[in-house]
Amino acid sequence: MPKVTIDGIEVEVTDGLTILWAARKAGVEIPTYCYYPWFPPQGSCRICLVEVEAMMRGELVKMPKLQIACATPISDGMVIHTNNETVVKARRAVMEMLLLHHPLDCPVCDQAGECDLQDYGYKYGWPVGHNSHERRTYKKTDYGEKIAKEMNRCIHCRRCIRLSEEYLKVHHIGALNRGDHLEIGSYVEAEVPSEWAGNLIDVCPVGCLTDKKMRFSIRAWDLDHVPAYRPDCKHGCKCLLGISKGKIYRVTARFDKYHVMKSLICDECRFEHKNMDDWVIEEDDINTPLKKKIMKVPETDDA
């Protein structure tokens, strides 16, 4: 079992793991956008850049470039810095680039409060923007009754493309054009032809794809999250209800502590059933008032 040192913390991890998982085991946070454990790493967002010193012929050699933590496998004796000036600078650079065209319409964004861009922007961002140009805007496209798409907020992580191609098996969404006018979308303006399409909302780290049924009705931080299932569902979806004052505002998949979906849920569960009678709550303390349980879900053992 290789031993690596991450920010001075020594951990022993199984062979073949990436730096990201080693760091998670050591309790060091590395931000990620495009990385999703369901798919092979794509390495395109560049927010997870870390500085790596690797053992080469018995000597510790610093790699000339920063490496992406999500795809670089660990080797014995590696020393990884996730927090020094070079790395902080690179992260800040990526944050600035991502926010270059982002509309920053957080006050009216449904994702606000559980948005990776907000969290990491707050933590790793650059306090002043250098940009003095107009922001890029896209033509509005309609994705049907279920999904609201706001392309201007997109950070091009392509999780939605990979989910729809590899799991939903629909080739509806793709990348159009190239460079900084690249658009994630479809040639045809139509609903995503899948009964699992709602999962695209959960996989999106920002407010690009949001739930149209719950749009502008409540803020995410006002919701209590309760794990529940619907006995009538033919798939047996394990859902998480977003409840406020006894009313269901939204239904999502359950997440683990890295905000990764535990399983897909079907569109019927997600969009059609907003009546409490349809659901069976898996915890009995739903009715105890004033107890917020934001994202309180059973934790799995990982890494």
Partner: protein, 464 residues
């Protein structure tokens, strides 16, 4: 014209696209010899390794070493991809080869594929190379008919197929992993490495991607031996290199020059100096993605990888762009930025957003509507792009423009301050909008320094 072509002699032979003419000049002899004398693949790799041939596409990786990385204990098909997606501004050497000497390329490919036991090879053409593609297709048909390609070649039991593939005209597809993606029918976007293509490339099989010029040199090296190739150049840069020279010179064109040749001598004797008796101002020596050189640096260096690197640039793909003293370098920077903005694939963040940003800033300078501290912003953006991207395209926009701004700062300062070019005396672009009288900031804006905002995040709470 003192310099004769040596390795690429075929370019100057008229009618060399025909198989008969090529065979008269010793064509396919090496391929026949390898199969007849049963020269082992290891021996071929050893010869190429000894010759010191390095990849001519830009990175300069030793070719023989690359071939030896291919794992032989696999049941998967091994592929050779010939990279003919030459689209860098200033580089046009591969076009000469495929249009005038395609058989030498095909022979080189057959030998290279045999060296690492690859069964199928493809030539990836840039979409715009229609003429070259047609010529290569005709040459391939001739070679197939003559039995040099196909099943049981010349009765030796060795099978090999060569096919062509035309791209759709994207610069990024010249990057080897993007080329593989494009051939597989995906978006032409670079992959993350490792795994390297030699282990897992085209259809997850071992794949070697070589430049046209590299492969074309292989038959001649086998014909004359590695010592013959060593007679030119230095210890680490051996042999000869094709240089495609363009810009403000008297004799533009493609030249074959031995490595280590004096740049000054080559420039004065072969290229005939700067045109119209003007003075030299700047040279981009290796295609548009390499840093520009001042005349002093340019004349001091020799034409090999190490010497050019010592003098502050890179050999790259050998596309020399010469600029005379009436060139406005701000305009040059804008043209370069426009190219990389247009060709960025849009996959990774710093390059996708950064190239467009750099382009917009330089456009602002050309309109005469840039703030006085715009240079600081540009250098910050360069820092943010450089080294943080998946493939070298992000570095490619930084290196030439940064070198222009470092080495000719007065021209940029003048353009920013006066709103017009120092050379041409006018702004290249019309003003975008009417600005208020006080739009120009007198004091430069104090952008925060990294040290001011450095926080030790290990002590903050875990957000997950």
């Amino acid at each position: 014209m003192a310099l004769e072509k040596i390795v690429f002699k075929g370019i100057d032979i008229p009618g060399n696209t025909d198989l008969k003419v090529y065979e008269e000049h010793g064509g396919y002899e090496q391929w026949k010899k390898i199969l007849k004398d049963k020269i082992t693949p290891e021996e071929v790799i050893e010869i190429v390794k000894k010759s010191g041939l390095r990849g001519r596409g830009g990175a300069g990786f030793p070719t023989g070493l690359k071939w030896s990385f291919v794992p032989q204990n696999t049941k998967k098909e091994k592929y050779l991809l010939c990279n003919c997606d030459e689209s860098e501004p200033g580089t046009f050497k591969d076009r000469e080869i495929i249009e005038k000497s395609p058989h030498q390329l095909i022979e080189g490919m057959l030998i290279a594929a045999y060296a690492f036991q690859g069964g199928v090879s493809y030539i990836y053409f840039r979409g715009e190379f229609v003429k070259g593609w047609k010529i290569c297709e005709a040459a391939l048909a001739q070679a197939r008919e003559a039995g040099y390609i196909g099943e049981n070649i010349l009765g030796s039991g060795w099978n090999h197929q060569v096919w062509t593939h035309r791209g759709a005209g994207a610069y990024i597809c010249g990057e080897e992993t993007a080329l593989i993606n494009s051939m597989e029918g995906k978006r032409g976007e670079p992959r993350i490495k490792p795994p390297f293509p030699a282990v897992e490339g085209f259809y997850k099989s071992p794949t070697i991607v070589n430049n046209v010029e590299t492969l074309t040199a292989v038959p001649k090296i086998l014909e004359n031996g590695p010592e013959w190739y060593h007679q030119w150049g230095t210890e680490r840069s051996t042999g000869t290199k094709l240089w495609s020279c363009c810009g403000h010179i008297s004799n533009p064109g493609v030249y074959e020059v031995p490595m280590g040749y004096s740049m000054k001598k080559f420039f004065e004797e072969e290229l005939g100096g700067v045109w119209k008796d003007r003075a030299l101002k700047a040279v981009i020596p290796g295609g548009s993605s390499t840093p520009a050189m001042t005349p002093e640096e340019f004349f001091a260096c020799k034409m090999d990888y190490e010497s050019i690197a010592e003098h502050g640039s890179m050999l790259g793909s050998g596309g020399m762009i010469v600029m005379d003293d009436q060139t406005c370098l701000v305009e040059v920077a804008e043209v370069l930025a426009q190219f990389y903005h247009h060709e960025s694939c849009g996959q990774c963040t710093p390059c996708r957003e950064g190239t467009g940003w750099v382009h917009r800033i330089i456009q602002d300078i050309e309109r005469g509507q840039a703030q006085p501290d715009v240079k600081n912003v540009l250098f910050t953006v360069f820092d943010e792009i450089f080294g943080n991207t998946i493939c070298p395209l992000g570095d490619s926009i930084v290196m030439p423009i940064k070198s222009l701004m470092d080495k000719w700062p007065e021209e940029f300062d003048y353009y920013i301050k006066e709103g017009k070019s120092k050379i041409t005396g006018k702004a290249r672009r019309p003003k975008k909008k009417e600005m208020p009288d006080n739009w120009r900031r007198e004091k430069p804006f104090n952008y925060p320094k990294t040290e001011d905002y450095y926080t030790d995040f290990s002590k903050t709470a875990h957000s997950n």
